[in-house]
């Protein structure tokens, strides 16, 4: 589906039947509406980010980036992604294996639970950890006694990020592996491979592009998450500020160039993600599960 060349040829054929297309005027009007809408709502915001970032010249841009707190925010964002993406990757593969390769009771319910974080407001995703680990919680006093700091520190940020990016890899792999069935694995096992060898040499090559796709989306969200992280971070400059949070602080301090400079780095990341995602869809459309989005 991802590859437009695979669409049924006749619908899009130059000689598409007279019955299935609009009059030229209606066509033009619809295209104008669509392009206008996309230009105003998607293109303009993107352009503004870069325009503002470089509004004082390239020097000001690099000055803004090359600032102590900004660099700390970049490091923290990378650290958070490096921890939370692999965690969800392992979970996604394990969950997809259990769900796609076996038949068991309550499977549909389990899939619903995995999707749960998508329907929870990011703020609530952060809130639940505040309620769990905060001073007023059951665990709070115990944590304090043992000197374990979770909230307003890196562990809390990682937890909140793991929460919001939880479904990405799993929901990409589950439909893909369900479609592929168990035939390949059964063949490998019958040839004497053990479970681990079967996964490594048979299953993994089958799902690698879908896996990469899921990781890509997971990573984009992990680096860009704002609401959940904002609730648990405590906003300590240079310590618990991720890039999106740093954008907020700079913006609220009326440091537009600084805010947009950091924002443009994030926007660049988003563009890279989109390009990679599109390339993956074009080249390996069939090997990526049909689910797109989120």
């Amino acid at each position: 589906m991802a590859d437009p060349e695979l669409y049924p040829a006749d619908i899009h054929h130059e000689h598409a039947s007279l019955a299935v297309t609009e009059r030229p005027l209606a066509r033009a009007a619809l295209m104008a509406l669509a392009f206008g809408f996309l230009a105003i709502f998607l293109l303009l915001p993107l352009v503004v980010v870069f325009e503002q970032a470089f509004s004082r010249g390239i020097g000001a841009f690099f000055e803004a980036i090359n600032e102590h707190d900004t660099l700390a925010a970049i490091r923290l964002t990378l650290l958070v992604a490096v921890i939370s993406v692999p965690l969800n990757l392992v979970f996604g593969v394990a969950a997809a294996w259990a769900i796609a390769k076996f038949e068991f009771k309550g499977k549909a319910f389990l899939i619903t639970l995995i999707d749960l974080p998508f329907s929870v407001s990011p703020v609530i995703s952060g809130l639940v950890y505040v309620l769990l680990f905060g001073t007023a919680s059951l665990l709070g006093p115990w944590l304090k006694l043992h000197g374990i700091v979770i909230l307003f520190a890196v562990p809390g940020i990682v937890l909140a990020t793991v929460f919001v990016t939880f479904p990405f890899v799993a929901r990409e792999l589950i439909p893909l592996m369900q479609e592929q069935g168990t035939g390949d694995e059964e063949a490998a096992l019958s040839l004497g491979a053990n479970g681990w060898q079967t996964f490594w040499h048979v299953t993994l090559p089958n799902i690698k592009w879908g896996l990469l796709y899921g990781v890509l989306l997971c990573n984009a969200r992990a680096m860009g998450e704002f609401g959940a992280v904002s609730v648990v971070s405590g906003h300590i400059r240079g310590l618990t500020n991720t890039m999106p949070l740093h954008v907020e602080i700079l913006y609220n301090e009326y440091n537009a160039v600084g805010a947009f400079a950091v924002a443009s780095v994030l926007a660049g990341l988003a563009l890279v993600t989109l390009v990679l995602k599109t390339l993956l869809e074009l080249r390996y459309g069939a090997e990526i599960a049909a689910t797109r989005g989120h």
Binding site: H13, E14, H15, S17, L18, A19
Partner: protein, 349 residues
């Protein structure tokens, strides 16, 4: 309504799907378009319906150039191969759709539409299924709903693209007879596409045989079967055997012997002889005949097929004999086709 297709050519991306097709269809006629896959049958049907525009040529409805009319105005009933029923509408709504979308001046009342729908359902023998959705019908029932829907607009021409293509053999045969009855009852000019020759020959007033975007022959079932006018039609309709021959002075020769057939109108040179395997007479002595050694013989239903090697074992042909005919036991058989045709070898290039 007469339909006249005049010198029509249709190209898709320069690829000619139809090359210079002309066809006159009389009012009330039931016509079959018959041909192998890709021969342009559907394309011709869609051009008549107005779903495509010809690259060259004209289609006339009566005396009027149909290209002046939009699809909506042509008033053709089109039955698609996969029925194309509207899934979210009941059977009754499907059938009434064509009436419902008429401009308000010509639109019947709701009650009238409902009445017409149930009349048509009676006609296609589906009374009582008004409230069903297409998903709740069998293939044969969907086919009938599609036909009823097309007939609801009182079309001038009824076009059916492989109407029975997706059904099993039993249902096909039933619907075939039933379509003929409906056609005789309503008198619509009807064109249907098929690649099942039995269907075409049995059902149609005239059969249009198509190949590679051209019309090979137009004629009644008897005409296209008994007097095929091209090697293609000979090979495509019914069974045929063919042999390379030579024509000299109006005589047909196989290697160095005349075989007792004359083709005075043909020029001298290489040619091919076509005949039906069953349409032969056996000869006792060979005085101008085709003779061959029996290579194989097998029983096919009520007859025996005998494979003969002609002329030093290079050419093999089949003839058909009654079961138990003594000739089948012999090692050498001589025969002459009763009905046959010789086509000159097409010039290379």
């Amino acid at each position: 309504m007469e339909v006249r297709v005049s010198n029509v050519r249709k190209e898709f991306d320069r690829f000619p799907a139809l090359r210079d097709v002309s066809l006159d269809i009389r009012s009330g006629e039931l016509i079959a378009l018959l041909g192998p896959s890709g021969s342009g049958k559907t394309t011709l049907l869609r051009l008549i319906a107005g779903l495509e525009r010809p690259t060259r040529g004209t289609i006339f409805f009566g005396d009027e150039d149909a290209s002046n009319r939009t699809i909506q105005e042509r008033n053709v009933g089109f039955v698609f191969q996969h029925y194309a029923l509207f899934r979210h509408m009941t059977v009754a709504d499907n059938i009434g759709f064509g009436l419902k979308v008429r401009p308000s001046a010509k639109r019947p009342t709701k009650a009238e539409i409902r009445r017409r729908a149930s009349e048509l359902l009676d006609l296609v023998q589906l009374s009582g299924l008004e409230k069903r959705y297409p998903a709740q019908l069998s293939g044969g029932q969907r086919q009938r709903v599609a036909l009823a829907r097309a007939m609801a607009i009182e079309p001038k021409v009824l076009l059916l693209d492989e109407p029975f293509g997706a059904l099993d053999a039993q249902v096909r045969r039933e619907l075939r007879r039933w379509l003929r009855e409906i056609h005789d009852a309503t008198g619509h000019t009807t064109i249907f596409v098929t690649h099942d020759q039995e269907e075409a020959l049995e059902l149609a007033d005239r059969v249009v045989v198509m190949s590679q975007g051209r019309i090979e022959q137009i004629g009644t079932a008897d005409e296209v079967y008994d007097t095929p006018n091209s090697p293609f039609v000979y090979g495509f309709i019914g069974e045929s055997s063919s042999l390379p021959v030579k024509v000299e002075d109006g005589q047909v020769w196989i290697s160095d012997r005349p075989i007792g057939l004359t083709a005075p109108e043909l020029p001298d040179g290489e040619a091919t002889l076509y005949f039906r395997p069953h349409d032969i007479e056996l000869l006792d002595e060979c005085n101008g005949c085709i003779a061959g050694t029996v290579a194989a013989s097998r029983r096919v239903a009520g007859t025996r097929r005998v494979e003969l090697e002609i002329g030093g074992g290079r050419e093999r042909i089949e003839i058909e004999l009654p079961v138990g005919h003594p000739a089948a036991q012999k090692s050498r058989v001589a025969f002459r086709p009763k009905r046959w045709k010789v086509f000159p070898k097409p010039v290379e290039g």
